[in-house]
Symmetry: C2
């Protein structure tokens, strides 16, 4: 039986193997992803983003448990959990995996970005497709809310959750502008700390300034994820948003938005790689760099030249 068949039947090792191929950028993964794609589109995708230290992982774990209680299977994609300074996050990740290791209804995958310049979004999308095809009912994507790729990953989810924390000063909350706009649900986690109500109110106020484009009124919830407080309510809110999307054709629309973005990212990567190869293979790339370095031309004019020669 081939890899795809095994994955479709929910084989964990086959699933993990394809994911490793994707992460390594192995070309053999492409034909499998092509065949696999028609089996996707069934899973409900939830994005969880927030600054480091906001407790995203604990929240994700809590939501997973609630979904498991309802008999649903769950895939978790943790984007970039590695810590070059302490190794702590990797350790935490291993502990998480162990906790769920006896539960075949949960599949956790960590995505690092090392060595994949520009490829994180593409690899994450592919891994989500694999989990979808493998039959997971819900897929949770967890990511630090800084960086355009990460924001797009969460934006492309059916339900986007933005996590904040009270009383950690200004700089720590410096989440990218634009994150406010992508949230369907906002969570003030560690809400047993001082200032939780103030933070929740500030978010509410900011939300009032924006307009609900799709008719959904974003909600603000408070949780203490380590104690499990508020997690059931958060999960309930996710399910209500899911029901809302179902009623309003929003799910189909979000699905198409996601496809547009996946298509755009893939096109961008493939195009650039191919044109750079072309320019590099006939030695003109080095020549361009030398001419720019000597200020005989500039990067903008050089790109004009390359595009003109390629007939674009």
């Amino acid at each position: 039986m081939d890899l795809l068949q095994k994955i479709l039947q929910g084989d964990l090792r086959a699933t993990a193997r394809l994911m490793t191929m994707i992460e390594n950028g192995a070309p053999e993964s492409i034909p499998i992803l092509k065949s696999l794609y028609r089996h996707t589109g069934k899973a409900y995708v939830i994005g969880v983003t927030g600054p480091p230290g906001s407790g995203k992982s604990t929240l994700t774990d809590g939501i997973t448990e609630e979904l498991r209680l309802r008999g649903k299977t769950v895939g978790i994609v943790a984007v970039d959990p590695t810590s070059p300074f302490t190794g702590g996050a990797i350790l935490a990740d291993r502990i998480r995996m162990q906790r769920h290791s006896l539960d075949s209804g949960v599949f956790i995958r960590s995505m690092a970005t090392r060595g994949h310049l520009g490829g994180l979004a593409g690899a994450t999308n592919a891994v989500v497709d694999v989990l979808d095809a493998a039959g997971k009912d819900y897929i949770l994507i967890e990511t630090v809310g800084v960086g355009q790729d990460e924001i797009e990953v969460v934006r492309s989810a059916h339900t986007s959750i933005v996590v904040a924390i009270p009383g950690m000063g200004d700089d720590i909350q410096a989440i990218k502008a634009g994150v406010m706009e992508i949230g369907d649900l906002f969570v003030v986690n560690k809400a047993d700390r001082d200032g939780a109500d103030k933070t929740a109110m500030e978010i509410e106020m900011t939300l009032h300034l924006g307009k609900a484009t799709d008719g959904w009124r974003p909600r603000v919830l408070k949780t203490v994820a380590v104690k499990g407080e508020g997690v059931a309510q958060l999960t309930q809110a996710i399910l209500e948003h899911q029901a809302f999307l179902h009623q309003t054709d929003g799910r189909r629309q979000k699905g198409k938005d996601r496809i547009y973005w996946v298509f755009y990212e893939l096109l961008r990567e493939r195009l650039t790689t191919r044109l750079i190869e072309k320019v590099a293979s006939n030695g003109t790339l080095d020549a361009f760099i030398e001419r720019i370095a000597a200020r005989e031309t500039d990067p903008y004019s050089a790109v004009d030249e390359v595009l003109m020669k390629a007939g674009l």
Copy 2:
């Protein structure tokens, strides 16, 4: 006198105006950037990255003061300082600007990323070029060390500084893998806190595992930026790295690396925009999205089709 001439003479308002054009993606900025480019390549570029709350801004301010004491002019590009939750970072930024507002030798620019999907790196590079052409001796780029664009921005600097802090738990230190590799100098800021020596030692140990590719042995320094402690030593280390690069032809090599990356980013943006326009203008983009959404094809095969039709 035209905008370019004013900028070359160090006119602040003209400089700010071109930067706003760049941030807004105004096409009129391109011809100016083309003409301006031959006046670049003189400034020394320093990248400062680290997690939120590590005190990057205070460190950057401290380095700026030290450089001003040495009679050097400074440009600061703060990438993404906005805080949608509290507005705090914006406020802090205004206070900073006020502090330096009487000093015409310092120019500060904040870059937000809102609405510029994929364009942050390009816009930041262009702003660095403007400051370079405007005659700033040193350009400091300050950015949260998460997200590939941000890492590349710092990597492309002549001297890359990675900021860490002691005793803030694991998750908070979850800087991207790959950040360790880009640092020429490592700073443990807030070094009056418990665990500073431990963090410094951990970084030292990690550094010993890696190899110095260009002959420079990365250094680890401790600072308390808010009290100004260690900032003079850090600035001295920057100047020593600058002298090292000068002696070893490293500066020319780093310059070329930066040009390669700028060229690649520009090519990527322009290519994708142009091909998407082409595909969209004849209505095939919508058709592709619909076909993918219906699972009649998949994103990978659709991109193959587009590239084939474009003769690439």
